[in-house]
Symmetry: C2
Subunit: 199 residues, 2 copies
DNA sequence: TGAAAACGGACTTGACTGGTCCGTTTTACC
DNA sequence: GGTAAAACGGACCAGTCAAGTCCGTTTTCA
């Protein structure tokens, strides 16, 4: 969050001012997760329990706040991928990351929007890093024979983002665990060489 | 479309009026597919090559038009499912329907919105019918041993709607055939009994 | 050929959102 | 306690966008 507060250089601000920035940032995190990247500044202020005036006195703009919040979270995801790459077992590393990744996307609309390109914010460098890690994770697992060889690494991010269910389909409501059920099937599909063709 | 035109009971309308309703309905079909259920009335009128005034003289409301268009298309999907159920091979029936279903959703934003519950229009009866067909298709294939038994039929609509890729993930653009690549993996995952657990 | 029907699109209305401004309240230092 | 600077809240402003209306003009057809 230092991305945002760097501007405050003089003597330290009054207690209420500090408290309110913290509240706003926390509220923004939650709101982005629950509502998505389209949360309004008014909504964030409301959730933070402060007036809209305070929002704009403490923060440069709605966009700056959301950008900072998202960039933060994306960097955490990249860190997860790095950890997965350090796992000596390529399949387990991949699978664990896949679970974290899908879990995060499934529980945060905002992350999902950001990774889906639905936000005009400056997160390109994080995305580039993430693409790079995906490629490494998939190719490493393929070389180890743990992921079928008839797909390209780019298929995998699409498959994983696919696993996140819309909260409704044909009128059915997705439970909070539907993504796990989906993921199991997809991992089983990735798992081995192409099925005996049985058309 | 008769849902819409039923109101016109008196002597038959002037030629230009008839032509314009047809144009509007056709334009609405295409626009719903390309843009989604949020197409504006103005956009539909523009595509139809008529003024907005004509739109509202011929049609009760934007909502009525979109509702009729969507209900029509959903009924076609139900018909596809019925055909699949008449296929003597439960797996082939299921698989062919899955391809049609996903293909339709992938190429029409509007269908996708509607099946995803993203539209406040009266299509409940079509959805009920569709749910019913899904259950039959899945359970029939499970009884025949063609779909693994450790999932419930409701998982399948979620899995299939999952297969439709967002047009972008982590900055990658989905090609028009990405859904086929995804579907292949998912069908392979559905295909057999749970993988030898290899954690 | 002329009256009824239909047309186009400017305009109205209403919702919504990012951001500003100013009268009031809080803080912190004496 | 007193007071001045800092901070606060929220009414308000400006811009946008979409649904739907209205009326002067054009088209149809008996």
């Amino acid at each position: 969050m230092e991305r945002l507060l760097a501007a405050e250089l003089g003597q330290r601000p009054r207690a209420d001012a500090q408290r309110n920035v913290r509240r706003l940032v926390d509220a923004a995190r939650k709101a982005v997760a629950e509502v998505g990247v389209d949360v309004t500044a008014h909504e964030i202020a409301r959730r933070a329990g402060v007036g809209i005036g305070t929002f704009y006195r403490r923060l440069p703009s709605r966009e700056a706040l959301l950008g900072a919040v998202l960039a933060d979270t994306l960097d955490e995801i990249v860190a997860l991928a790095d950890r997965a790459l350090r796992n000596p077992d390529p399949w387990r590393g991949f699978r664990d990351f896949a679970e974290d990744y899908v879990g995060l996307r499934a529980t945060s609309c905002g992350i999902n929007d950001a990774l889906g390109g639905q936000c005009p914010l400056e997160i390109d460098s994080s995305l580039t890093a993430l693409r790079d890690r995906f490629r490494q994770l998939v190719e490493r697992a393929q070389e180890a024979g743990a992921i079928r060889s008839d797909l390209v690494w780019q298929d995998v991010p699409f498959l994983l983002s696919s696993v996140i269910p819309a909260d409704r389909t044909i009128g059915l409501r997705a439970g909070p665990e539907q993504w796990r059920r989906n993921l199991r099937i997809v991992l089983d599909g990735l798992d081995r060489e192409p099925a005996r063709s049985r058309d």
